[in-house]
Every structure is written in C-alpha cells, then in structure tokens.
Symmetry: C2
Subunit: 335 residues, 2 copies
C-alpha cells in the first residue's frame, strides 16, 4: 500500500501513545503523522520514529489531507469530530463507544469479521477492549459448534481507565503499604488491594442493573459475530493490575465440544495462543500477556455443570489487542 | 451452656488466630483454652482474653479433657489427629478439606443446614471459604425457586493461603513499585498486580482440568444444600487483595425470580446483608467486608442471556465467615 497521512486523535493518552508505538512497530506506511489532542495538550510533543512531533489542537479543519484518522479521545470527541473527518475524506477508526452500535458503522475485529470493513461510510468502530479478546476466542468455537450462551466475569486492568488511573493504583498502593491514607479520586472506591465491580468509574449503571461496560460485552459480541442468537451475560470488574485484562468465560454450545477439540480449534485460530498446561502451572496471566499482541487462552475444560459447555480463561493486553493494535490492524486491512 | 474446654489446633496460623479472636469476641464460654500447634511453634504464646497462653505441641494425648477441638492445621494434621480427638470425647470442628466429603461427617454452614450438626460422630467439617459465602446467599434462593445451575468465578484474597502469602503480596508489591525484583516463593507466579487462575498453590489440578478448589465449590455446595441436582461450575482465582473474597455468581432457577424478589428474600436471610444501590455506587467490596461477620450481596440483576437466571456479586471476610467464625458458630450450635 502507498504511504498514508495518519492522524491520531487523543495522541497524548494511554491508548494514543500505544497507537503511535504500534504504527511504528508494525511499520505502517506513514507518509506523515498528525498527532491531535485537546487544547490542554497544546505545546506537547509525542515521539514517533525517533523524532518528537508537535501535537496539534483537534478541530474540524484537522482532517483535510488525512487518509486515516485513529480516534482515541473519548466518546464525546468522537461523536463531535469523526463526522468532520469522514466528510473531509479520511477513514476514521474510532476506539470510543460512540459509534459501535450504529447500524451504519462496522464494528470490527480483523480476525473475526474483516468482511465488515468494506461496508464503512467513513467510520469504522473498534470494539470495547474486554469484548475484543473474548470474540477472537469465541469465533472459531462459534463456527464449529454454534455458541448459544456466554457467561463472562472480567478482571480488568486499570490502564483501561487512563494515565491518572494507573498513577492512582500505584500511589495508593504505596501509601497503604506505608500506612498512609490515599482517598480515591479516579475510582469510586479504593482500587489498591481491592476489587471494584463497576466499570466505568462514573455513570456506569443502566436501568437493568448492568453497567454500560457489561452491556457492551452483551451487544458488541452479537454484532461482531453477526448473530443475535448468541446470548451473553457479563459481570465486569476493575482489579489492581496495571495492564492485561483477564476473563473467566463459560461457553454453552449447540454441539458439544470436547476440551481437546476446542484446544485444536483455538491452536489454529488467528491471533490466539493456547497456553494450557496445568501440570506445568502454565495458563494465561496478565503479567505475561502485557506487551504482546496475541490473545491467550487456557484452563480449557468441559463444564461439569452442563452437558455442552466449556470453561476457559482468556487474557490479553487491553491497550494492544484491546485497543491500539486492533485499530491499526483495521487500518492495515482497509487498503 | 456450661463453660467448655476448647482446644484450637493450628493456633498460631492465620485462621487459628482468628479463631481465638472470634471465641473472645463472641464471648464463647471457654472454661480453659488449649492452643495446640506443631513442634515448630514450641515455646510460642498466643493472646486470649488479655493473657498470653502457652502453645502446646499437638499429640494424640492432647484431647483427654477437651470438649471442643477447633482444627485449622491443614488436611494432613486433621486426618492424623481428629480421630484421636473424637475418640477422647471431644467434638472436632475441622476447617481443613480432610473430612468434608466423608458421608459420615456433616458439612455445616449454620445458616444453611444446622440440622446436620446433630448427625456428627465426633467430627464436623467446616466448608471451604469460597463455598460458605456462596451458599448462605444461595440457600434462600434455592428454597424459593430451586436452583438448577450456578456459574461462579472467584476473586480470592491471599490471606486464605496463610501468613507467608500475605507477606509475599506485600513485599513483592513494594519491590515492584521500587523497581526491584521479587521472585515468587509462596505462589506459582507473581501475585502483585496480577491474577493467578490457580488455587491452591501446588498440586492444584485434577484430571478434568478443574482445580481442587473449584471442585470443592462444585461438590460442597451440593452436600450443604442437600441437593445433588444443583449443578455448579467454578473458576477460582487468586487476586492481589489481603482479605475478603469476592465472587461473581450466575444462578439459574427453576422458577423465575425477579431481582426485586431476590433482594427481598436475601434481605431477611440470616447472615446476609444486601448492599445493592448502584446509583450511590454501593455494592459489596473486599475492603468494606473485611473484619465483618456477614456475607454481603449486591449487583443483583436479571440475566439478559437467560429466561430464569440472576447475576450477583458476593463478598465476605474469608478468615471470618469463610473459616473461624463459621467454625465457632458450629461450636455454639452444638450445645
């Protein structure tokens, strides 16, 4: 593909930085990089291919010469500026939740539904981090045996909540170990040495008692797999881990899959690494998945409570496959 | 009841200490306390009612004058010494897994199946920590609507693994924050800022791919509820929390329960506190449950993936209701 002008909106955030690193690491053909951010980041520079590049303030006029605009600046910013970018001729790959459930906007995980990319009208949505790593594992199982229902509980790292959230976990942990207090600011409760069953940190709950994060897993999974018959329930929690989301996933299928069959299917699935050797205490871990692009799956076993279900443990880097890498992979597939 | 001679085997361990504190806090009528431990603890003293009491070395002759022997010294010790204690006339309340599935031994949670206590032949088993807090919540739902299946994922605190495990979490966390290495000794992998889907730390896995901890939840739940038709699958994990186990529990029932019905049933259930006000960001947390005797339940909602199921979040102090308190409550009910 010919080199592209690439804008990154939200370039100074946790995911924005990972987008820059991922473009560089994957040798994406960048003719020119346009880091964009809000007024607050005026005067900042970001590193790219050994240079420090000036951050520009995001506006409706930012996209005139842009081929691809990777957005990771929050739902409000995406809602406001993605249409301008698309109108100016850029293709937007948006990491926020703003457009994901819009029927006109493809919601894409390249290993799962790459065919959806072609249907875009200027905006493509990147799914939620916790959904992406689950569906890359579910896809081959669904193709082989039709998934009927998924019960998932998540163990989500704080980096998904941004730089201030990482700092809060680290500083609060340090304070508690030294016997000092450190009241929560970013999170609704203490996150150090605690589990918080609420994501996101504010305005989380919807009328049915689920959080918006949980309903993302319910709805996005159906849309990405292209099958409204896949029923999902989710409980999503924030855990004192910096990077790497873990998920305990129970999968009921129409046709019974043995654990061996599932392992064989997953072993050849794109983007998936089977790490499943309990005797050697080998299974996916946040600490070993962090920094890697693949999704790791292990603890695969036939559910003793159901005639046709599997339990498994899925871990991936929430900033990479869960955000920046998936967005860059979409951009790669675009051309 | 008349005052009793109470032996505590494993009196110097994390749970043993909690047993002493619980006996004192609940004003259990102790005529004389006999703290017992292995050779290693020879010469140690433990605090009880303002005095320091000598620890005696556990032997077959330790129980001649003992009325109640609370055991929390590991499965091997229980297997070896509980029969001697029973033979000497003491009633053993054993916190290990040694006797739990023995058909001659009652497995008791006083709020759930107190009637089983009377059937003892000298030994009564205290269930696994993660099972206890789940069944006190399941019981009223089962009575009202017949539970068919439970899918549970746990978030278990390190104190369940003993004093050295607590130290390892604290010291390893400190080391990592200071940029130092701290290789795991107690746990199979780094526990600081990580999630380990394996409990216990060694010899965890059974042939079907589950861990022994997971199979405890599967089998003990059926025995305590007295119903083999309650199907359970569990994924149990260790999280960087000091005290307080959290559980994400999906419960399928024969008769549909609304979330409101479930909350009403649980509000009057013994030992259970409903903490369920999402709008106020109020739900059970390890940090608020630690040090308390009740089991807390919240995030109760009707499962969007199933016509007759509920999701909920259950938290309790694993050392209290999960171990020491439940054992002392059994002792109280004995007389």
């Amino acid at each position: 593909m010919s080199a592209k002008v690439v804008a990154v909106a939200g370039a100074t955030g946790v995911v924005g930085r990972q987008m820059l690193e991922t473009l560089e690491a994957r040798d994406f053909p960048v003719a020119r990089l346009k880091p964009l951010a809000s007024e607050r980041s005026k005067g900042k520079k970001v590193p790219f291919k050994g240079e420090m590049i000036d951050v520009e303030v995001l506006s409706d006029d930012s996209f005139d010469d842009v081929d691809i605009a990777l957005f990771s600046a929050g739902g409000g910013t995406s809602k406001r500026f993605a249409p301008s970018a698309a109108k100016a001729g850029a293709v937007v790959v948006d990491n926020s939740s703003a457009w994901r459930m819009d029927p006109e906007v493809p919601l894409v995980v390249p290993e799962v539904n790459p065919e959806a990319i072609a249907k875009h009208n200027g905006i493509i949505a990147n799914p939620n981090c916790s959904t992406i790593q689950m569906v890359v594992v579910l896809k081959p199982l669904h193709d082989a045996a039709r998934i009927r229902r998924v019960v998932v509980s998540t163990y989500q790292a704080v980096s998904g909540a941004g730089i201030a959230a990482i700092t809060e976990l680290q500083e609060q942990t340090k304070a508690l170990l030294e016997g000092r207090e450190y009241p929560p600011k970013e999170f609704p409760h203490q996150i150090a040495f605690n589990i918080i069953p609420q994501i996101p940190q504010s305005d989380a709950f919807v009328d049915n008692g689920y959080t918006t994060e949980e309903m993302k897993m319910v709805n996005e999974t159906k849309k990405i797999l292209g099958d409204d018959n896949v029923a999902v329930t989710a409980t999503t929690t924030r855990v004192p881990v910096i990077t790497g989301h873990s998920e305990s996933v129970n999968v009921e299928t129409e046709r019974k899959l043995t654990a061996d069959e599932a392992r064989a299917l997953l072993a050849k699935a794109p983007g998936v690494v089977v790490e499943d050797d309990p005797a050697a205490q080998r299974y996916p871990l946040a600490t070993t998945a962090a920094g890697k692009g693949e999704t790791f799956v292990g603890r695969i076993r036939e559910d003793v409570s159901h005639p046709s279900a599997l339990d498994m443990w899925i871990v991936s880097d929430n900033l990479l496959k869960g955000a920046a890498l998936n967005a860059v992979q979409i951009a790669e597939k675009l051309f």
